[in-house]
């Protein structure tokens, strides 16, 4: 018996398929900003410390080669800021005028020198910019504070331990040992065993 072909259903479904795709494309909004760098790249950059400028290093660069950017809030900026600095708070970096400005800096190969209350604050903004592809951004490693209501900039020693932790601990222990006549009984804690299970993020397996 000859197979009878019905085309009504296929026509209808094909038209529906086309409609769905069209609607999906029309409603689709292309993301405005896309990260250029993946996390590997940013991690590499973070680890080779090229992105940190001290005040002295900044002085050695020609004035026309960089633009200082204050990433604190407008309020803080109006209280006092580094000379010639412009104000773009971290929150407003993705505003298009500000992006244009960074684009300009990038084209003219000028360095965007970011600073905030401390390097840590500038770091967020720097990481954002770097991941968006602005390799010309750098962090000015300074602290800003107010002494007698005057704006002060001072160098900041990054990630420097305040004290030698190990030594302090040792010292404290020897002191406590001295203070005690009796030997300190050391309650041995049972080792805490924690199993971290991988988050269920199963890679799809195949099969046929």
């Amino acid at each position: 018996m000859k197979e009878l072909e019905k085309t009504k259903r296929i026509s209808i479904s094909a038209v529906l398929f086309l409609l769905i795709v069209t609607i999906a494309i029309l409603t689709f909004e292309k993301p405005k900003y896309v990260f250029e760098k993946n996390t590997e790249a940013i991690l590499n950059e973070v680890n080779n410390n090229n992105y940190i400028l001290t005040l002295n290093q900044l002085d050695s660069i020609e004035q026309s080669q960089y633009q200082v950017v204050d990433i604190r809030s407008n309020f803080e900026y109006s209280k006092g800021h580094i000379n010639d600095a412009i104000n773009i708070s971290t929150h407003d970096i993705l505003v298009s005028e500000n992006m244009d400005l960074f684009d300009d800096l990038k084209e003219n190969s000028k360095t965007a020198v970011l600073y905030g209350k401390n390097p840590n604050e500038a770091n967020s903004a720097w990481m954002l910019l770097y991941q968006l592809g602005y390799e010309n951004a750098k962090i000015l490693c300074v602290e800003t504070n107010y002494i007698d209501n005057k704006f002060q900039v001072s160098n900041h020693a990054l990630e420097k331990p305040a004290v030698n932790f190990a030594q302090v601990i040792k010292l404290a222990k020897s002191k406590s040992a001295k203070a005690k006549a009796k030997p300190v009984s050391k309650p041995t804690k049972s080792k805490k065993v924690i199993t971290v299970k991988k988050k269920k993020k199963r890679v799809p397996e195949g099969g046929c």
Binding site: K2, E3, K201, P204, G206
Partner: protein, 196 residues
């Protein structure tokens, strides 16, 4: 953002229920398209029925276009999908053995299950044959292992192999499919009708 289960959006526990539902739809579509009939399946090799080729190509084209649109529209991460690893010689030789088996038996595993479900005895026998074939393979695995494990190219796609944008591949693939449809209809009009 898909795929939903590997990304943990749908809990893993649902996996098997979804498997049954998907299998259900798969079986229904295969049977309703006539894949439970071995003579219909074999028809494409003799030019009297091209249903298999049409279903096969249509579904592949629709699926690949749909998947890439979903990827484009950010519903799905195409790199998360499972890609069958390519073992070049294993695929070629295995495919050739399957080709002979297809002609002799008239089914492939999916369709033979459909045939079993509607009571085709040849389908049942074919399925028993499948089990025996798998058993033979497993028992003689040590002899076949060099072939099985050789020339592993990894989980590659045509994009890696040809170095062309996937969109062009899809476009060309679609054109090939359309030509195949036209050609199959032409062949069918030339070949003597077989009623089954």
């Amino acid at each position: 953002m898909g795929p939903l289960i590997p990304n943990g959006i749908i809990p893993e526990d649902w996996n098997y229920i979804i498997a049954i539902l998907i299998g259900f739809a798969f079986g229904y579509i295969l049977e309703a398209s006539g894949f439970s009939s071995s003579r219909k399946l074999a028809g494409q090799f003799y030019g009297y029925d091209f249903a298999v080729l049409k279903v096969f190509f249509t579904s592949a084209v629709v699926a690949v276009i749909g998947l890439y649109y979903m990827d484009y529209l950010n519903f799905l991460d195409i790199s998360m999908l499972f890609v069958q690893p390519t073992y070049l010689w294993a695929a070629i030789i295995g495919g050739m053995i399957m080709g002979v088996g297809f002609l002799a038996g008239g089914f492939c595993p999916g369709t033979s299950l459909c045939a079993v479900a509607i009571g085709k005895i040849d389908g049942i026998v074919f399925t028993i044959g499948l089990v025996i074939g798998i058993f033979i393979f497993s028992e003689s695995f040590s002899a076949l292992e060099p072939l099985f494990e050789s020339s592993n190219l990894g989980n590659i796609t045509l994009v890696d192999t040809l170095g062309v944008s996937p969109y062009w591949i899809i476009f060309i693939f679609t054109i090939i499919a359309l030509i195949a449809f036209v050609f199959s209809d032409w062949v069918r009009s030339k070949v003597k009708k077989v009623f089954y």
